[in-house]
Symmetry: C2
Subunit: 413 residues, 2 copies
């Protein structure tokens, strides 16, 4: 027992009432909250400034921590976008009538209580609240300590709106920023149904190592694109440039280019746009030998493979055939997004069948792995595990289901 | 690093090949294995006898451990039933064409490698193999040490058939019965996608406490049936008798009868068939006062609620109204199976909406919570968690999905 469990018990208890809130009512709450965010922008900015004042402005997290009037407007707009999404609840996923007359329905229901552990990004607090309310889930939030003033201000506004609507505000709890609270959350198996960590690999590893509650891992993307012997060279060039440079800091960006040996003579041409964009290349010995000397190109060592760079860096691996490419991917992939560029249909089909990843692509940029792009609406993260939800997680992925069985006295023989 | 990881790596590597095995081929393996089980019955019985010789015949596990000619035939028949089920793989769960021409399909795929930890029931080894092969999953089995000879004999036959068909036998591994092997499996996050414990609550708790790999919890059922004020008395009587006495040792059997106060005068009549069947009753003070003295009826204390009896025992809780029943269930349920007996449609609807359990029933026995009854075919267990799969888990619940994206050069703006 620890001092947080009574609060967790309150969240669980209050969250039972969420299933009775209709989609329209949840939408009204979100609309009102979006309005309040704009009314209280001065308050949010003032509280956020207290956090910013505690952080060195050269810290790479500083920008993610900062709220601005424009960003708050953006958050409010996203909230209204979530409002307009269809409800993920009460959907009849299956139905059957058994021979004894029992009527079975498989109905979507909230997961229950979701714990979210994240870093100093106050926008996450609001994004996650919108999705949780809309999917009928209670929420226990553990934000980064660097964002404590901002997050407290935000949860205050959330609670204010919930009170206005006489909704169970206790179903949405912000934990204080101390390690003991995190530890309690990770072990709260009686109160929390799933924990979603959002942030760095270090955070995710910590959560996985310490959680007793089920975890959905999100984030890490060690992404490959394989240029098959049969590839259209111009397509390959454009796709690779896009996958690497569009937003190098996100999880779907390219980390390792795998090329079929037949392209070595043209490799220089293939990567020229990357060099122009300032990408630093780590080429295996065959690829390195095929390239002219360039300060941005060095020879790869083992640790350049299986690395998520999140920056303008790229490794290159040369293979003899598709099998070697598949083996390399199986060994180093984090099962996020993987692509083949090929015109040979058999190679495409084998790749799409055999590569084990949340999203597998033929002749397209891995930059498309994203909830909005896939038509899921807002996303709470990109799952890299295979249980429950894989790839972009939207509202539907925040639900479970139950079997509803209606009878008129049936007993089992 | 531990000595088991190289074996786990082999399972993972070999299991990659399973996705290429067609449903017909998997079926041929199962048919051949069913045949071989009958051919080698003498061998299985002899090995099983070695295990039985080590166990005291008065041990309650003795019967579960024992194989007989008839039981082996039953296992073979179930294997042929699994053979006939439709494949859960390569199903198109969704498809969409994006405005940029990208073609997305959400396709069912194997989970990858499944770890199963179970007790001294050799039939589980074969049941789980059938389901894993059919769903394209590799398997790491950790059976009870009491069944070690039996399990070794079984895995030998499995490997023999896989070799005959030139299928990757290394994808199916039986671990030796030592604690170190279990520990290694529970921590094998790089090699195992999910662990399913099958057995006692103690086993499940141990797995949950120690696993780093995601776990699907199965089994524990603390089951309630609420007799509403509006209940049809004869229906209630028959349903309660069936739910409690049909098979008291299984997880869907009734543990706590909740009665509306209005039924207290008739409670004696309601439970008469239970008393006749030898059920021991623990009644709360109101119910106790309403019943005549009987050696099988005693007054309940707190620990009789929230207990999975798995035997001919039943607690009785008296409530004033539906809300109290819902609160009692929310507090004590293990979210397995819960039932209401009522004629009032509003009470039924509220119960079915608000009770959070894998299966919620109106006017039927909870004994129906079962994969075969729900039409899922064979079942690997009954999940009591909300992530991934809930309730009976059949072949479909042993799959994940991936997004397959086909383009012709698309990049993201």
């Amino acid at each position: 027992m620890n001092k947080y469990n009574p609060y967790f018990a309150n969240v669980k208890e209050a969250s039972r009432k969420l299933i009775r809130i209709g989609n329209d009512q949840a939408g009204e709450v979100l609309a009102r909250l979006a309005e309040l965010l704009e009314e209280k922008t001065w308050f949010l900015l003032a509280e956020n400034q207290k956090d910013l004042d505690r952080m060195d402005a050269t810290n790479p997290m500083y920008d993610r921590l900062a709220l601005t009037e424009e960003r708050i407007q953006g958050i409010a707009r996203e909230m209204l976008a979530v409002q307009k999404l269809p409800s993920p609840l009460h959907l009849r996923l299956e139905e059957k009538i058994l021979s004894n007359g029992l009527y079975l329905e498989k109905i979507s229901v909230p997961l229950g209580v979701i714990g979210v552990i994240y870093e100093a990004r106050p926008n996450v607090t609001l994004d996650v609240f919108s999705l949780a309310l809309k999917s009928g889930n209670g929420l226990i939030l553990k934000g980064g300590s660097d964002a404590e003033f901002s997050n407290r201000a935000i949860i205050q506004l959330i609670h204010q709106v919930l009170r206005e609507f006489e909704f169970p505000e206790k179903a949405f709890l912000l934990l204080p920023s101390d390690r003991e609270a995190t530890k309690a959350l990770l072990e709260a198996v009686d109160f929390v149904d799933v924990i979603i960590p959002r942030g760095s690999q270090r955070l995710i590893d910590f959560v996985r190592q310490n959680a007793k509650v089920p975890v959905i891992e999100t984030g890490a993307g060690i992404v490959h694109t394989y240029v098959d012997e049969s590839a259209d060279f111009e397509k390959a060039k454009a796709i690779i440039l896009n996958a690497k440079t569009r937003r190098p800091s996100v999880c779907n960006s390219l980390d390792c280019l795998i090329i079929h040996r037949s392209h070595l003579p043209n490799l220089e041409h293939l990567i020229a746009p990357l060099i122009d964009a300032g990408v630093e290349i780590f080429a295996d010995s065959d690829a390195f030998a095929a390239l002219s000397s360039n300060p941005n190109i060095s020879e790869a060592n083992e640790r350049h493979f299986g690395t998520e760079f999140l920056s303008l860096k790229l490794s290159i691996k040369t293979v003899e055939n598709l099998n070697q490419a598949l083996d390399h991917i199986a060994r180093f992939s984090s099962k996020h997004s993987e692509a083949i560029i090929a015109e040979n249909q058999e190679a495409i089909d084998r790749f799409l069948l055999e590569v084990d990843a949340a999203a597998v692509y033929a002749n397209a940029s891995t930059a498309f792995t994203d909830g909005a792009q896939f038509g899921l609406g807002a996303e709470i993260g990109i799952s890299t595990q295979k249980l429950h939800a894989r790839g972009p997680m939207g509202l539907r992925e925040l639900t479970s289901y139950k079997w509803v069985v209606r009878g008129n006295g049936q007993v089992r023989g």
